[in-house]
Symmetry: C2
Subunit: 477 residues, 2 copies
């Protein structure tokens, strides 16, 4: 692309594009000069960098900059800031709340080219990676050293994106979330400066925890350009148990008992009968169409065997039935793959419909009641709304399947999601356990956190007075 | 105390008391009216609320307010802010870096009267406490429910203070630090507003992580008035192993191997020969005067037995000798009590001397080298400087014992501590693993974190433009 090409054909603007064509032409020319073909303004690349994963409408950026280094990210940020052009960080675009949309226009900073693993410190159980490294890519590299990175949000997301949204997934119950997994980050701030939030020690009490502040800030306070993350030894043994229950309440009680006895589950996933039916069809399995718990254990052979027996006893106490075959290695792989494909499987329950991803998380004592209410109201509305949950953490996803051509249905679905979020907050929980706020949930932030939102606003104002970094996300307008 | 008494006898001021006598009289009168006898200005109570635990000189506040509720804390903060009088939160005063000193004068807000456990949610493995609850007090209450709160910094500190300094201690290697243990906090901000940083769900991706921002902010951004903390089931079995080694390097290698094999130690503590000698005398034990590892395991009977055997094999591989008797319950209690008393035991190595508490934390691959250098230089200086370490985290404390009447020795000791901090930073570590920055280490913050310190400064400025909250701590002047 030549400079002329960049400026002669101004791209379609976002709904509220906040800068002039002249400003954009200057930014586009400057970025083209520095990045060459790694700065792009074609329609398809722009649209691909708007949000497409779920039901939120696509708001493409004006251009996409494929950054190759931290210095380039800083250059892009400084260039954009000088002309009041927003910057929106982008990993692989698997986020679920419109995080990568450009409602005010601007430049999407695609970090997928920054995908080097810079150091693996096996003795220290950490590694240093660029933000575009994906979790699967990292785990392939680590395998030979007997190490792994445990956070698994399902999608093969980038570590930068997972950090930015404070992601977690199926095994957070054992290993924690991205919040617990990151030792420090390097980030480019809204003023273009580059900071590192910590050294490589496993713990520190040195000053404010800027690492945690950037994790989950969804690109609104800075762009993460490097991460030092914790690693774990690959467990000697892995074991699985699958168990069906008569009711969601019985399954939830079994989860509480498992946590209460301190059984160290690595994963404990609940699937409702709808999801089980979809998964059976999609992945050729034949579980009973009943509430299902899929549980995994990591440890020594002895420990895994002991914990499996303990869990089976808990299942029996709660009226459940364990599925005998679930523990063969092949079957285990097949089942967990099916679990990861549950989203896609669920979409087949209503072909052509879109899934509205929800993400509430409640104290586990409230789990059975909250799932029950969510199911009941979905039924009352006539929604097909399968449910899966990382229930050891109290986190579950209801996925109403909605006809996006039916205005009334969309309206009722929005109302349902709003009610669901408020119900979780009422129960002492959160509207988002792991997806983040993005565009989709900023309306619920104050309901959940009250005046703490003003503190967030003050921090945003202090670090990004221009509101250049991913505007329209996290904080309510 | 009457109002007249408060204002008629202005207390001695700090070195840089920044407000007028008139301002102080107004503040003292207002606080007396609201708090009655719970506002005090006597010399002994003021001195007791300055810093006394280690070598940092005592800088007493002008008055001490014993707050009984969050609203009272907010009232105190607003009253002080209106007259530019600093507020300094106080728990039980066991911090080690001058955190409770009042270098610019002001009011110490003593939170020890706010010591109620407000809720124990056994099913959710959490509880809600006021900041003045101490860890021992909490664990006594929890015992009947089969639960415990694991963070153990040695001293019977308050949970508010432990949160404010991001404390940890012996079993952080298994359970994490205060950072990992706190679900949310309520805090009074510098402007007197009261915010809650989160709900009670075990994880959340809702907005900026203000919980983590307040944890470790050492009272410079707000006063924590309530905490929701995670709890754990009391392990079915506890086992211990003690092992002596020929050299620190061999012991450190054994630690690395233990972590590498994924042996889930609950505690893994290193004591150098000097500390072992002191501990033998002080606590009537008879370990070899050699590098010693004290290790504890939590889990089921089977798991603990398995892990003990695994660890013993690692000890043998690294030329160490396990001490046979260390696993009887009585002996175990006696040994761990001795470990907790190691600070006091060490002081007996040089009667009359003060201990300079240091707190570096390095990647564990650097542990042996860093301990070796620290020992060597202490020897070169002629210091008696025992060492204990939470080595699973790479955190160790060198405690040079210094004659505080000897100017030259103090000067050399300061120089040693500075060198030690820089050595840790050079090795990829931190100058403070768990004690915090306080007054004592703010000079090393920029060396460790570079321009990230400016981000901290911007946040401090945004939330506390008057610098009313614990001035002179954390951020360099």
């Amino acid at each position: 692309m030549t400079i002329a090409a960049a400026s002669s054909s101004p791209p379609p603007k976002g709904d509220l594009r906040r800068f002039s064509n002249e400003a954009w032409e200057t930014v586009a020319r400057t970025l083209s000069e520095r990045l060459g073909a790694r700065f792009q303004i074609g329609d398809s690349v722009r649209e691909q960098h708007g949000h497409t994963t779920t039901w939120i409408p696509n708001q493409p950026p004006d251009g996409v900059a494929f950054a190759a280094s931290t210095d380039e990210v800083a250059f892009i940020v400084r260039t954009c800031a000088a002309h009041d052009v927003p910057v929106i960080p982008f990993g692989v675009g698997t986020s679920l709340e419109g995080h990568v949309n450009a409602p005010e226009g601007g430049v999407s900073v695609d970090l997928s080219h920054m995908n080097q693993v810079l150091a693996i410190n096996a003795h220290d159980f950490d590694c240093v990676v660029q933000p575009g490294v994906t979790r699967k890519q990292l785990n392939v590299l680590l395998r030979d050293q007997g190490l792994f990175f445990p956070i698994d949000p399902g999608a093969d997301a980038t570590l930068g994106g997972m950090a930015a949204t404070r992601a977690s997934g199926t095994n957070a119950v054992r290993y924690g979330t991205m919040k617990n997994m990151i030792i420090s980050v390097e980030a480019v701030l809204p003023n273009g400066s580059i900071v590192r939030t910590g050294q490589r020690a496993r713990k520190s009490s040195a000053g404010y925890d800027l690492t945690s502040l950037l994790i989950g800030s969804e690109g609104t306070l800075g762009i993460i350009t490097e991460l030092t993350v914790r690693l774990f030894g690959i467990p000697e043994a892995v074991g699985s148990v699958a168990a069906s229950f008569g009711t969601i309440a019985e399954a939830a009680e079994a989860v509480i008992a498992t946590m209460q006895y301190g059984v160290p589950v690595a994963r404990i996933e609940l699937l409702d009968p709808l999801t089980v039916r979809a998964m059976n069809d999609y992945s050729n399995l034949n579980f009973d169409e009943a509430p299902l718990l899929l549980v995994e254990f990591h440890g020594s052979e002895t420990a895994v065997a002991e914990h499996q027996e303990l869990f089976k006893a808990i299942v029996e106490d709660h009226g459940g039935n364990t599925v005998p075959s679930a523990n063969s290695p092949e079957e285990r792989t097949r089942i967990w793959q099916a679990r990861h494909d549950a989203y896609w499987a669920s979409l087949t329950l209503r072909p052509g419909a879109k899934g509205l991803s929800t993400d509430i998380c409640v104290p586990i004592s409230q789990l059975a009641a909250c799932i029950g209410k969510a199911q009941k109201r979905a039924e009352d509305e006539g929604f097909i709304a399968p449910i899966v949950g990382h229930v050891g953490d109290g986190n579950f996803h209801v996925l109403p399947l909605i006809d996006m051509d039916n205005e009334d249905e969309i309206k009722r679905a929005r109302s349902y999601v709003g009610w669901l979020n408020e119900m979780a907050i009422e129960a002492g929980g959160t509207c988002t356990g792991e997806h983040g706020i993005g565009q989709g949930k900023s309306a619920y932030l104050r309901r959940e956190l009250g005046d703490a939102v003003d503190v967030m606003g003050a921090i945003k104002q202090a670090l990004d007075p221009q509101n250049i970094m991913n505007p329209g996300k996290v904080l309510p307008a």
